[in-house]
């Protein structure tokens, strides 16, 4: 199981690609589908590779990203 889970709210996403641009792991990709607002939302291509740096969430202007971490106690 991946250590971090990055969740995209694709209805909030405006497809600005900032998360993609700032992900140090290059694991964010833009969808070819179009969301209800008419944008191509971002999503994660390789959850395992995520280092949980939060860069994506910090730069997202539209609050479309949440990040979860595996509970160590689990």
């Amino acid at each position: 199981m991946a250590k971090f889970q990055v969740r995209f709210n694709s209805d909030k996403c405006k497809g600005c690609e900032l998360c993609r641009a700032f992900c140090p792991k290059g694991i964010i990709v833009m969808s070819t589908a179009i969301n209800s607002k008419g944008y191509s939302p971002a999503s994660i291509s390789d959850q395992e590779a995520c280092v949980g740096c939060q860069s994506c969430a910090l730069v997202c202007p539209d609050g479309a990203i949440e990040i979860y971490k595996e509970e160590t106690s689990e």
């Binding site: 971090f4 889970q5 641009a21 997202c60 202007p61 609050g63 990203i65 990040i67 979860y68």
Partner: protein
Amino acid sequence: MKPVFTYTKGMTAVDTSYCPGCTHGIAHRLIAETLEEMGKLGDAIGVAPIGCAVQAHKFMNVEMCESAHGRAPAVASGIKRVHPDKLVFTYQGDGDLASIGMGEIVHAAARGEKICTFFINNCIYGMTSGQMAPTTLIGQKTTTSQEGRTREQAGMPIKMSELLSNLDCAVYIERVALNSPANIRAAKKAVRRAFEVQEKKLGFAFVELLSTCPTNWGVTPQDAMKWLGDKMIPYYPLGVFRNPEEVRA
């Protein structure tokens, strides 16, 4: 799974009206998160004057007031007199604050109003579609400086943080940038410090947030971030210009 980064209660569920990649959304979130973390969402009152963020009240989960273009510091001064223990803040664009609202911001700072001002400097008039602002950089093309701004035609861009640093009662002044995760983290600290200065009633607190306007700059959001770093920061250096002892620690 344990959330490490999640939606703040400081933002409403309403989607912002900002263009894709516009950093207004980031600035909103930083303020919202900070107030949430301080437990002050219900004890804050914001003022957003005309500019792209005039409808901030739809997005930030605090009580807010619109204001006439440029007059937010006066409006906030009035609010603060009625509610001296609430956190009162203004959220102003560069056209608004540095152009038409110059008188109001200088005087609010000079009086040492116990309010915070978040100054979203994107070097342009966003809402009205891209005219030159007093902060527009030399050489920058806008709809009213189509060949690029020149010193001869419009003088040099105004550095508001430096200007206000001359005023004794403007006790906390910092310039931050919203162009990278690291800078955004630093920006959030500045927002926090500004509210703390107000909580302690030390005086006027001012945070200049260098921002982007991809739409009117005519570039992608990503290139806008780059332009901010390459062009804006060299002219508008980041840093703390004034910092009262009490919050320096």
